[in-house]
Amino acid sequence: MLSIDSDLVEAIIAHARRDHPDEACGVVAGPTGSDRPLRLVPMVNAERSPTFYRFDSIEQLAVWREMDQRDEEPIVIYHSHTATEAYPSRTDVAYAAEPAAHYLVVSTRETDTVEIRSFRIVDGEVTEEEVHVTGRE
């Protein structure tokens, strides 16, 4: 299960809406081993594409180094699908390289509703998990 604060979820959705129709992507960092996503880092989609995303490599190095210095890791890796459902595509599965991360997928294909789902992707195997949004009264 992924537990994540509602403010972070709102910020991820806002980022996905802002970049629509291109895919948006980013990470939520948290203390290593804590499984607690705390610090949102929206990333540039170097592909600027409606069907593909890739973190800009130089930005990724800077963000990964900063996490290292703060003893953090990428707890959540998020991206949006802008014309398909919020389920990992074959490309998502093929390139997933962080077995400890929660892969959060947001679909912005509908203008009035947003679909947000979370998955573990380990060795090509996709397992959906519950998203527990915290901090909501």
């Binding site: 895919e23 594409s49 069907t51 973190f55 490599s57 991206h79 998502d92 997933a96 390289a97 679909s107």
Partner: protein, 94 residues
């Protein structure tokens, strides 16, 4: 002195769990060959035929070697080489 090589979580199975290893070589390609001699299997995860695998990022200090000379990029003692898996994907229609 040697070249400090930072290994991402997903490739630490080849380094006995080590986050960083040392290597020698005049170029990125030679460095990877040197690492392969002690960490068999690592090269195949980094190199595909003549070039770097598309979804692996290799940095020399602060630069992506793709924007330098790729595998031919010169390296020297005291440099840091960082390997990171690219973070990529997308909702391509089937």
């Amino acid at each position: 002195m040697a070249i400090d090589v930072r290994i991402p979580t997903i490739l630490r199975q080849y380094t006995g769990g080590a986050k960083a290893v040392e290597g020698v070589g005049d170029t990125v390609a030679a460095l990877i060959d040197d690492l392969e001699s002690r960490h068999p299997g690592l090269r195949n995860r980094l190199v595909d035929g003549e070039g770097l695998r598309r979804f692996v990022n290799v940095y020399l200090n602060d630069e992506d070697v793709r924007f330098l000379e790729g595998l031919k990029t010169p390296v020297s003692d005291g440099d840091t080489v960082t390997v990171l898996p690219a973070v990529a994907g997308g909702g391509i229609r089937r």
